[in-house]
Symmetry: C2
Subunit: 314 residues, 2 copies
């Protein structure tokens, strides 16, 4: 089943301690679509300007991304310019030019309206709502958001969340949305807002999956080289949703595998600038890194007689 992915496409200019790139391919819809495309076809809904290089469209097409929902509008493509310091955990935005993205009003091609698996990238929650109005009875709707909407369009976001099955946020956003510092309590509050599952992204520390009476934790893959964290969260969400759409599963066991695959895709994305690494990664490499995640995190049962000889508790 194809995944419907809605979001931004941008030309990013990025500087990290390891180098810089000017006007390279970026945006939430780009990263999520490409990450998802390893698992099956993707239907992309986004907008670009007249200046958007045709080679990028060709690249998307070459990856079985259906670009019939990619609208090319008069004007310039969305630009983002940012930098990262040595800890690479926080982007420092230097300049944002929304350009044609400021008038983005997603219209789904008729053929996309039966999409069962939907990923709403981080855009205005009113636009996310409008997308859902166009999809007939989706099976699983996932949504990303950010502090800007949590603060500035809270009511719209809450309205959208009531139609969402799965929310992706980072830990600061989860705390902000719930108004609660403790992440477990914050998650429980958010699960009252509509989503039946919540993924809390924690950057280099990994991610948590919360559902009713259920928590799963995955560590991030410890990378000796982390070039550019741009797009990590969207690659994560794309890998996660691409896998669910591919396996046509939405139970918690599938979501646990999905969060690991999301981590796998994110770990590749940050190894190079832009989508450079995602362009070359293979299915075999994805499988191998998934297996490495098991090596990284699994451990044996305890011995039966462990506590003979330990201090007894009064």
């Amino acid at each position: 089943m194809a995944l419907l992915a809605v979001g931004s496409i941008a030309l990013d200019s990025v500087e990290t301690p390891f180098g810089r790139r000017e006007e390279v391919l970026g945006g939430s819809a780009t990263y999520s679509s490409i990450a998802a495309s390893f698992f099956g076809p993707v239907r992309l809904v986004a907008t670009v300007g007249e200046d958007f290089p045709e080679e990028h469209v060709q690249f998307l097409r070459s990856r079985e991304v259906d670009v019939s929902g990619l609208e090319r509008r008069p004007g310039r493509t969305f630009r983002w310019r940012g930098s990262y310091g040595f800890d690479l955990s926080q982007a420092n935005t230097i300049d944002t030019q929304l350009n044609v993205f400021s008038g983005f009003n997603p219209e789904l091609p008729r053929a996309f309206c039966d999409s069962e698996f939907v990923f709403l990238g981080n855009i205005d929650p009113d636009l996310q709502w409008r997308v859902l109005d166009q999809v007939r009875g989706p099976r699983l709707v996932a949504c990303d958001t950010m502090n800007f909407w949590i603060n500035g369009k809270r009511e719209s976001l809450l309205r959208t969340l009531r139609r969402v099955d799965l929310l992706f946020v980072n830990d600061a956003e989860a705390r902000q949305l719930a108004g609660e510092h403790n992440i477990v309590k914050a998650a429980h509050s958010i699960l009252e807002l509509g989503p039946r599952a919540l993924v809390v992204k924690r950057g280099e520390y990994g991610a948590l999956l919360f559902a009713r009476d259920h928590i799963f934790a995955v560590s991030a893959y410890p990378l000796p080289i982390l070039f550019d964290p741009t797009g990590a969260g969207d690659s994560f969400a794309g890998g996660f949703m691409g896998y669910l759409a591919r396996s046509r599963c939405e139970d918690l066991a599938a979501m646990r595998r999905a969060i690991v695959l999301g981590s796998v895709l994110a770990s590749f994305a940050v190894e190079r600038f832009s989508l450079e690494r995602l362009r070359t990664v293979t299915h075999e490499e994805i499988r191998a890194r998934y297996a490495e995640f098991r090596q990284l995190t699994h451990f044996d049962d305890l011995e039966i007689d462990l506590f003979n000889g330990g201090a007894s508790v009064r």
Copy 2:
């Protein structure tokens, strides 16, 4: 096999968003001994003043902690006063009175000198060295340290590390010791300094175990209530070392179980002030939480036919 634990004993005054306690039992040797005592006998080496309440000594004795290496000296017991804000990740030290601890010069009782498993709590690396001079051919030596010694007594610390098998530090300390921000590279540098294994503690995010060509990651137990993080790191190290001493194992599979058990003990320790929770926790609760850690972190293999239908990579 009994674990030898050397470190501080303190009377702590702590304020967190959830309450405060005055002059309660604390210190690295206390937390590590009690956490280790669930697995087997502990030999404690520490010093207290004339004012140290006898009930605390009785408590240690009641937990099969051999206190024949506990020296009572003229003067007052080490005092620490600190507070935590809502994020609970950083202690704010308000006052430190070393008192008798400033003259701590660990002398091992003759019967302790054959200890095979040794935990050197966070004290002056020259004192850690002196302890090792008194132990005959230990099997596994683990050591904790902190920024104060990494900066202020670097040469002494490096000398001690050459006799250490396993080092416990937090991520900031690992970066500082290695002079490298990337935690994987920092770990590899530290493994060149002597220890054959390194545990990097990451607070609410969990911990990493590094050895040559080996990484293991454990997430912290997501707690809805975290009362007082004081002693979490020492409870972690105590649980870790207590288990290794009990199982008489020092291979990597055992260390993986040990790091989970350390996380289990730490997760209990922070549920109440001081050692309140560690006083009441049972072997059954430890077993159950260990099983919960498997539920929290384990995931299934991928399906065989996953990638049929995914975009092929050029």
